[in-house]
């Protein structure tokens, strides 16, 4: 039998009437002073109690009961037509142990979500998105970088032409993703190559200068084509968006969704790709070099040289295990 003390408001004035409410034969009976009426339970709505905060029972015609008796109200909400999802919340809130379990689960979900969930969803989403999305992002990124950190290449046109031709020749013999090769000078990036979403591959003058053999440059471009082939640029953009969504869920600060979306174009290109993506691009490059009959050691050689030059960042900074990563490129290769 549910019985609780409450303040009754008739919805007409702000006057409080001290009453006692009780449940009897499918009705909520409210009695006290001049007040005496009964309401069918299916017309009673209990705002699910939160903590020890005083909660409200809504009766028809904007009438209300306010009571501090959380236990009785919870009982009443079970009998009446009240919101369900919050029963779960109330169960979890009822013991500190459950709440701590919720804390542990939250941490696990966030960690697992960031490590596996976000990349997997990003990959699926990347497959679903049409190619022009990558191209648009790539164009924006290139325009931005041309303004901020890149300047026109100082390499002779003939040299640019020759390198472009060599790669085009290779791509006629084996399958390459659609790409566009550009040469740029950059103090900031030093000896470097970048794959932008949509297939633009930028090679810096310093990288061309560092190469002792054209095949080394072809190997680096092959690695970048691997990034293009697997649409890593778009996936990185989607991943940072997904990570942000998790952040919003945790902080509950939905306002930061807008900050998040504003950050999308910046793409974090300079901070490079994830280690898994590098491995994917490496695997592509290895197969590409083998088909092209270029010794894989060319790739190891030029990367080793970039690595020695401490001032360079970008191609290598996101993967500390360069030595280990280059293992497959130290072998003799499988030229058919």
């Amino acid at each position: 039998m549910i019985r609780f003390a409450a303040d009754y408001f008739d919805g007409e004035t702000s006057r409080a009437h001290a009453v006692e409410a009780s449940v009897d034969a499918g009705h909520l009976r409210v009695r006290g002073g001049a007040v005496d009426f009964a309401v069918s339970l299916d017309r009673v709505q209990v705002a699910p109690p939160a903590g020890q905060a005083r909660s409200v029972v809504h009766l028809p015609d904007a009438r209300e009961l306010h009571s501090a008796d959380a236990a009785a109200l919870l009982e009443l909400s079970r009998l009446s037509a009240s919101a369900r999802p919050e029963r779960w919340a109330h169960l979890l809130e009822s013991r500190l142990g459950f709440a701590l379990a919720a804390l542990v689960v939250s941490i696990l979900i966030v960690t697992a979500g960031l490590r596996w969930g976000v990349p997997a969803v990003a990959q699926l989403a990347a497959h679903a998105l049409p190619g022009w999305v990558d191209e648009r992002i790539g164009e924006e990124a290139l325009a931005l970088m041309d303004e901020l950190s890149l300047s026109p290449s100082t390499l002779p046109a003939a040299r640019q032409q020759a390198l472009t031709q060599k790669i085009a020749d290779q791509c006629r013999r084996q399958t390459c993703p659609s790409y566009r090769l550009l040469f740029r000078d950059s103090k900031l990036f030093g000896a470097n190559a970048m794959a932008l979403p949509g297939g633009t591959v930028v090679v810096t003058d310093a990288l061309v200068g560092l190469a002792r053999h054209d095949e080394e440059l072809l190997a680096v471009v092959a690695h970048e084509l691997g990034h293009v082939r697997h649409r890593h640029g778009l996936r990185m953009a989607l991943q940072s968006l997904g990570a942000g969504a998790i952040l919003v869920a945790v902080t509950g600060d939905i306002g930061s969704v807008t900050d998040l979306a504003a950050g999308l174009p910046s793409l974090r290109l300079q901070s490079g790709y994830s280690r898994d993506m590098e491995r994917e691009a490496d695997a592509y490059a290895l197969a590409w070099l083998n088909t092209a009959c270029i010794p894989p050691t060319r790739f190891a050689a030029i990367l080793g040289r970039i690595d020695d030059d401490a001032s360079d960042t970008g191609l290598l900074d996101s993967h500390p295990g360069t030595r280990e990563r280059l293992g497959p490129f130290r072998g003799p290769g499988r030229c058919l």
Partner: protein, 348 residues
């Protein structure tokens, strides 16, 4: 015997109690891919309202989670459309931006109205009756004048915003009046201006020192080094002043809003102090950082408790004489849009 009675506003919630609600909200939001966030918001507000007590009666928050969810989805779709177009069709995005700007007064009024209508005390709902036209004049018209008047109009804009918000609030059938004048607002902003000039004065003094030392025949490098500390001190004071001024404006504006408002026979006395707010914000920040965010519930409760403690209601011996107004429904779209856009207005 005086005709009025003083009712202190009280906040009775504790950090420990809110911590449990907060962490369960996060967990369920994560498990449901964010859908539960609407329930979480309602539950949180219901808890804060249910612990805010005046004359031994609590406030109640009446919005339903489904209302919030619907508003949130519509607002999210609109913002997503804007960001998608700004990316793939910038010209269309400019058009959308203008549409948003035109809609802004509507969003503001809707947000204030939704918030008011979902808030109740003693069984009577609040309401907000400000017009979209006046919101447009204040939040767009006057705002656009700020650069042309070198910001001199800023105190007046703040005054009009406060008057708009306080003067159009309705409780039951009783409309609030705003009787404050624009004069004290000039004092607040003048003081803020003085505080921001302080670091500039330090830097200017440093520059003058270089000039004076060089005139005295000291080599330029030594003179610059001597003045460098002034520049550094000036910068440090500048960054210190930003939160100080923020807290000052926040506290003084809240006081001016409440102290100038009257609701029928009821008046308010608000006593927020900038130094208290700075201390709360600063210590909250440090503790949140040290506990990797776990202190957030306690931080919010501290702020709620301070805000309640700083407010007293002066009214008749019986607060039961207010009469209900017409019951009207409203949608959460404007309010959720305002949330998403990080717009901040309303009662603090």
């Amino acid at each position: 015997m005086s005709l009025t009675k003083q009712y202190p506003m009280q906040f009775t919630g504790t950090g420990r109690e809110y911590f449990v609600i907060w962490i369960v909200n996060i967990a369920l939001t994560l498990v449901t891919f964010g859908i539960y966030s609407a329930w979480a918001k309602v539950r949180t507000l219901r808890w804060f309202y249910g612990h805010t007590r005046l004359d031994d009666q609590v406030f109640s928050y009446l919005a339903t989670p489904l209302q919030i969810l619907r508003g949130r989805l519509i607002a999210l779709a609109a913002i997503a459309a804007y960001y998608a177009t700004s990316y793939f069709a910038p010209r269309l995005a400019i058009v959308l931006m203008l549409v948003f700007l035109v809609l802004l007064p509507w969003i503001i009024v809707n947000s204030l109205r939704f918030h008011a209508r979902q808030s109740a005390y003693r069984g009577l709902r609040f309401d907000f009756t400000g017009s979209v036209g006046e919101a447009a004049r204040i939040f767009i018209g006057l705002q656009l004048l700020i650069p042309f008047t070198l910001g001199l109009i800023l105190p007046y804009v703040a005054y009009r915003q406060v008057r708009f918000i306080a003067g159009n609030t309705v409780y039951g059938q009783t409309g609030a009046r705003y009787e404050g004048s624009h004069k004290p607002f000039w004092g607040v902003y003048l003081l803020s201006l003085g505080l921001i000039l302080l670091p500039l004065a330090i830097i200017a003094f440093g520059a003058y020192q270089v000039y004076a030392l060089r005139a005295a025949g000291i080599p330029p490098e030594t003179a610059a080094a001597a003045a460098g500390s002034y520049l550094l001190a000036g910068m440090a004071v500048f960054y210190l002043m930003i939160p100080v001024i923020g807290a000052l404006i926040q506290a003084r504006t809240a006081n001016l809003l409440y102290n100038g408002a009257a609701l029928g026979p009821v008046g308010f006395a608000s006593r927020q102090r900038a130094r208290d707010l700075i201390w709360i914000y600063l210590s909250n920040l440090v503790l949140i950082a040290l506990t990797l965010g776990l202190f957030i519930p306690w931080a919010k409760v501290r702020l709620a408790r301070y805000r309640a403690r700083s407010l007293t209601v002066n009214g008749p011996h019986d607060l039961g004489g207010f009469v209900a107004g017409q019951h009207q429904s409203s949608t959460a779209t404007g309010s959720e849009m305002a949330d998403l856009l990080d717009l901040n207005f309303g009662l603090t």
